[in-house]
Point group: C2
Chain length 96, copies 2
DNA sequence: AAAATTTGGTTTATAATGTAAACTTGTTTA
DNA sequence: TAAACAAGTTTACATTATAAACCAAATTTT
């Protein structure tokens, strides 16, 4: 009846990050930080977890002389995100 | 942009319980346990938390000679559940 | 009628998680 | 050149979730 929710996505910040990345081609660390309001530390950790899961990829480069971290969602990430959204419907439907 | 998610509801088991209770007048412990597939211990703990938050009420009685714990959602619980569902839309919308 | 099993839970211990604070490395500005 | 800032990372801590162990009463089995 209630499908298991992917614990990697069932996290406020990780879900916000995935939601942002699902809508765009790529986004950098500072953008994600601004949009989510997260602290750098928290964001860094959660990005690592999403990367380890293969849900996003991270590229490190420079913008001028300043370091720049860019994130992109992977096909697996898109798929997982869709699955999570669908699973959640089961939980939410009773309360509409 | 991303509203804060009520941490009391952002929990797989508590959300399932609230979802079940939102749809009915009342439900007892064993029913919730069967529907959610949770262990008794986990369910007991999460029911306590929802009770402490004022989201549900618990009545303890007997069905014949056997103990029976019945749960009901409160108006505050209904409200919180609705709020959570709405907040979640913000997170999910990008991934439709 | 004892003993074993089941029902309906609660308590507690442990493992996993989320988060912020502190730190690092390099850059810009005063 | 010293202070402040940018962009992150690491680490430590506090909170959570979960299962395992436990308990009391009722029921079933022998």
């Amino acid at each position: 009846m209630f499908p298991k929710l992917d614990p990697l996505l069932h996290s406020e910040l990780r879900l916000a990050v995935m939601s942002l990345l699902a809508g765009v081609d790529e986004a950098d660390f500072t953008y994600l930080k601004k949009q989510t309001g997260a602290t750098s530390g928290n964001l860094s950790v959660q990005i690592d977890k999403l990367t380890a899961a293969g849900y996003i990829t991270v590229e490190k480069g420079f913008k001028g002389k300043m370091p720049r971290t860019t994130c992109q969602i992977t096909p697996a990430g898109q798929e997982a995100f869709r699955g999570y959204v669908n699973a959640l419907q089961e939980y939410l439907s009773s309360g509409k």
